[in-house]
Symmetry: none
Subunit: 194 residues, 4 copies
Amino acid sequence: MGKKSEEKYDKILHASIKVFSEKGYQNTSITDIVKNAGIAQGTFYLYFPSKSALIPAIADHLLTITFEKIKERVSEQDSFWNILKQIISITFESNETYKDIVVLCYSGLAIEHSMEKWEMIYQPYYQWFEDRITQAILKKEIIQAIDVKLTTKMIINLIENTAERYFIGNENDALEAEYQEEIFNFVKRSLSTI
Amino acid sequence: MGKKSEEKYDKILHASIKVFSEKGYQNTSITDIVKNAGIAQGTFYLYFPSKSALIPAIADHLLTITFEKIKERVSEQDSFWNILKQIISITFESNETYKDIVVLCYSGLAIEHSMEKWEMIYQPYYQWFEDRITQAILKKEIIQAIDVKLTTKMIINLIENTAERYFIGNENDALEAEYQEEIFNFVKRSLSTI
Amino acid sequence: MGKKSEEKYDKILHASIKVFSEKGYQNTSITDIVKNAGIAQGTFYLYFPSKSALIPAIADHLLTITFEKIKERVSEQDSFWNILKQIISITFESNETYKDIVVLCYSGLAIEHSMEKWEMIYQPYYQWFEDRITQAILKKEIIQAIDVKLTTKMIINLIENTAERYFIGNENDALEAEYQEEIFNFVKRSLSTI
Amino acid sequence: MGKKSEEKYDKILHASIKVFSEKGYQNTSITDIVKNAGIAQGTFYLYFPSKSALIPAIADHLLTITFEKIKERVSEQDSFWNILKQIISITFESNETYKDIVVLCYSGLAIEHSMEKWEMIYQPYYQWFEDRITQAILKKEIIQAIDVKLTTKMIINLIENTAERYFIGNENDALEAEYQEEIFNFVKRSLSTI
DNA sequence: TATGAATGAGACTTCATTCAT
DNA sequence: AATGAATGAAGTCTCATTCAT
């Protein structure tokens, strides 16, 4: 597998993101990717066993970026509602940048019958958000009569799916703020102690 | 396309659902489908222009079944909260029956860059649910400070995504009721006027 | 496998014999064969699952030709020593015509770990020769203190291997008669009752 | 080639025998061999110009072992019939140990159109056996009306081919002695002066 | 309308070989 | 002498699609 150079691995990863975004997963051949990456055909197989192995790698890459950004911009001391606002905002940002590839990752994993991989990749993010919820419960910011794990997944899905739909639907830019607010309010009304 | 023979069309549709469920979309060839349908290779093209054209047809078929069931079991006079409960329950039922194919439809459409088709197929269902929400607002069952269209999509997505996750994650059967209840409560707390 | 046309099957078989003879098994690509056969690349796979599946088909074809010739030229009433002489002569003839391909068949089967197939193909020929030996024992032409099955295989191998060696070694044509006689005498001295 | 390091050469040779035996010639890549030998990819080419160059090296190695064993166990003073018995016995031993690789060597050479190499490798063995036959003629142990060179090859082939067939056919162990005896008697009846 | 043999482009993948270290 | 990452040509095989029957 990963023989030596981190550089080549990254080249392939970024080339694949680029080409997938442009042509879609199905219409992209490995030849397209290697040409774009500026490497030889065979080199691809030193780093990835197949085209489909790119999907989890890309998914991991994208989520890592998003998650890093969240951890950067959010202090664990912040109020839960501030944290939520940030997450919504950053999720929209990431989805804008990677709008084509995001659906593709989800689909790619789904299509290969490997939703478990998806869950694995999301695990650290889920864990972190569960911790935020638990903390918020302790701080009486949100009600306690909820299943933390399930609520975590529901909220994250709600945000991501809406963001996805927003950018893919090519809806009017002006509405972005309202979309974000609608999600925020939906969740807040449901969970707030006040 | 031209409905030459409803019978053959259905044969192809059901064969494709069966084979996609077993082998996944990518690994299924048209040859697999026609063998399973018991028709000739060329006959396929009299009913569908390509493999990918099956996806919206399947999606339409599945949603129609689910939507029919909902309309059967729900009276428009019912309280909104009863309707919601039914929808959640039926969505879980459908997802159990078609668990493999549901993700695949979503993915299939996503992967072909045709989320618009998805929205089109869902349009009647969305419209019906919007009407239920509007009615509920008028009946003061739910608060009025919401974007009806967006809330509709958020709720339906919330239910479908959780159901999907539930059956794909092969989680403990005992939890199904709790999952359904958690979704219901999440939405009720957010929208109820009480 | 063999869908329809005997014609296409034969085209492939003869093209493969021709090309294998010229370039050897390893250096022959399926592309070479289909070009020579005048058919499309994909058509090959309607008749044979892979390149290596050609080998037993060729072997069968060649042995069938040889065996037919033997049965044509030999009457079961002939003396065993006449029959043997004919077999030697015909084996040399066949080996001359198909000298390159004969080794290749043997090798091809060997290399694929499928000597059993070889035995299966030879089975009718072995059986026929066993019957001739048994008959010769009854007619007291040859001694009876032998294992008929094993002796059959030893004799046939002796003839084929020597013929093979003769033509591949490119030895002087003049010697062919002497080679044949040497084999004949070797066997006759060993088995004759006289 | 240049014997840079006898040790590495042997490592490659033995690794190739092992891997060829397990996977067959075709399915073995040089990568398989170097991994098994515990050397680097490039190192292979310091000792062998190509994969096919391994075949004659292996053949040479195997025949050398067998021939050494024969010369060890046989005194040139022994009666021809004793020598023959030993050769048969040792050939069966060698074939048992190297059953997979033996056919492969023969095939490998055949397939590369280089039967001459085979003859070259066998030359010393043939020569030695010719000498034994000539001596036996002089000692009146065997008849003189034979072509010594041709008879040598026929006998050796007879033994090797039967042994090969015996071990590849997975025949009942109990029969090994009878097989050996059948060959011995076949030859003895043919050549003995008595 | 239905058939299914034939097509042929092109995808994936392997692997012998090179060469800078 | 030894290494092993990189190469890229070439091969196998699949499969959507066509078309004569």
